[in-house]
Symmetry: C2
């Protein structure tokens, strides 16, 4: 019996993910707020619903890849998806939303006999297109097992704990990314300020304990002063705020994350919303006006 999947949100990430599900042989019905974005998927064989509830009727599973927590809540509960799902169906929410909201959704669906996984992703549009997303899944282990075949078409999925744990894992990811950007920015600025060649220093320390994806990719961006996103600062700020709220809920102080958030906030206040998050460098340079990493012009969005 072929699995019927409903797919909510076919934007930059959702469209290639839905296309991979079609390729894997699933029967797919899609909905998107801006209907035109569903056309390539319709051409590839997907059904198109003109309202969210339409993807839920007869679906074994509904995947949502929507913008933020309030939109997921609205689409699932105010626009009829939850009511249209049969008991035994499964919601897989792959948007990045607060852990507390994910737990609330899981609880409300459980009352209807509908399963829920919070399964946010890392890997960007490239990972979505190539089916190589890192998927962090929270929820009941049996729901994770039921979803395994679906998730395999999208990337590498790991079960990380109960409801909300997938969103927490995404917060962990974003906290580590943001602070590591700060680490690389301060390290390279120190090299430049003291008269070393930052590009040669980056090359010299790659492969040692200082090595990271951020040193490799964002370190190169900083040296080239290429701040065209990539990952825009407004998204990084949304994720850091979610992480700090989740930490506060758990009586956890995150002093380094809090400082990094202040640095990004200063960039936002100066109009840097759409700059790549490696532009954290610019705020550190603003604080030390005689120091600059390299002498090329800034590439800005």
């Amino acid at each position: 019996m072929t699995t019927h999947i409903g797919f909510l949100g076919t934007g930059l990430m959702g469209a290639p993910m839905a296309a991979n599900l079609l390729k894997a042989g699933f029967i797919l019905t899609v909905w998107n707020r801006t209907g035109a974005k569903t056309r390539p998927l319709a051409d590839a064989g997907a059904g198109v619903a003109d309202a969210p509830a339409g993807v839920a009727e007869g679906a074994d599973a509904v995947i949502s890849m929507l913008e933020n927590g309030p939109v997921v809540t609205e689409v699932l509960f105010d626009r009829g998806v939850a009511d249209a799902l049969a008991p035994g169906a499964l919601v897989i929410d792959m948007a990045s939303i607060p852990p507390s909201t994910a737990r609330d959704h899981a609880g409300r669906l459980e009352k209807k006999g509908v399963g829920h996984l919070d399964a946010p992703v890392s890997g960007g549009t490239r990972g979505a297109a190539e089916g190589t997303l890192a998927i962090m899944a929270g929820g009941a282990l049996e729901d994770f097992e039921r979803a395994r075949e679906i998730l395999q078409a999208l990337g590498r999925a790991t079960h990380v704990g109960p409801a909300g744990a997938g969103q927490l894992a995404k917060c962990t990811n974003q906290v580590i990314v943001a602070i590591t950007i700060g680490a690389v920015a301060e390290g390279l600025l120190l090299a430049a300020a003291g008269g070393a060649d930052p590009a040669a220093v980056r090359e010299a320390i790659t492969g040692g304990f200082a090595d990271s994806r951020i040193l490799q990719e964002h370190g190169r961006r900083m040296i080239e002063r290429d701040f065209v996103p990539g990952g825009p600062i407004r998204m990084q700020m949304k994720d850091l705020n979610t992480a700090l709220d989740a930490a506060a809920d758990a009586s956890l102080a995150l002093p380094i994350t809090s400082m990094i958030k202040e640095l990004f906030q200063a960039l936002l206040d100066a109009g840097g919303n759409e700059f790549d998050h490696s532009a954290l460098l610019l705020e550190l340079e603003r604080q030390s006006p005689t120091v600059r990493l390299g002498d090329g012009p800034d590439k800005l969005p």
Copy 2:
């Protein structure tokens, strides 16, 4: 003509490095403060000097792998090495010392017609034994070219700029390592505090943008609560102080590094000198007494 090398300091790092130079066919004379440590090298064919100046006589190059800046200054300039070197010889200082001290040494040797490279390393005793150290070299490019054959026997060398730049690169390395430890500690604590499985979260995010050598090795240590060094906090503090002094010399503020230094200082004040630097986790846990990463016992030195 075979190159004659003098080697100062055959401790944990220096002894295997000197052994690799012997294996590569160089003629070696060694000196160490505690003479007994030179015996295995003597058995392998090295000459042994009973004073530092003894390694310099007739040497094409002198390598120092000593404890800190004052010791390097004392051995090179107060105990006769600089005076015993012939014009055209080369000093390769591979200890981690302040960039300003390295520049001073280079200037003093230049007046005697002796070349100087500051060439600190990363990779630990294992890298020293395997000849795979990352070597960050500052100084004149022609001196770096002259030293290439020697450095190749010890690891992978990169020329990163003029005198002092090698030490700056080591500071960059240590700043990035220290902050990235903070990144991983805060991220994993958040996962644990919210009820996710930190080991599964670490597994899920490995390979993505949050990935780093620190996530892989120190992240595992934190989850296993294994704080036996590795890299002891007192060494991390020495390097952070050197980095912050070098930053101050260059009118550069490093707010994140300064915060990390305060966290390590609190650990030192609590008696954690010999704990591995991944024990930064313990200070974050102390600040949030209801949160703990895992429930195993601490492994302490």
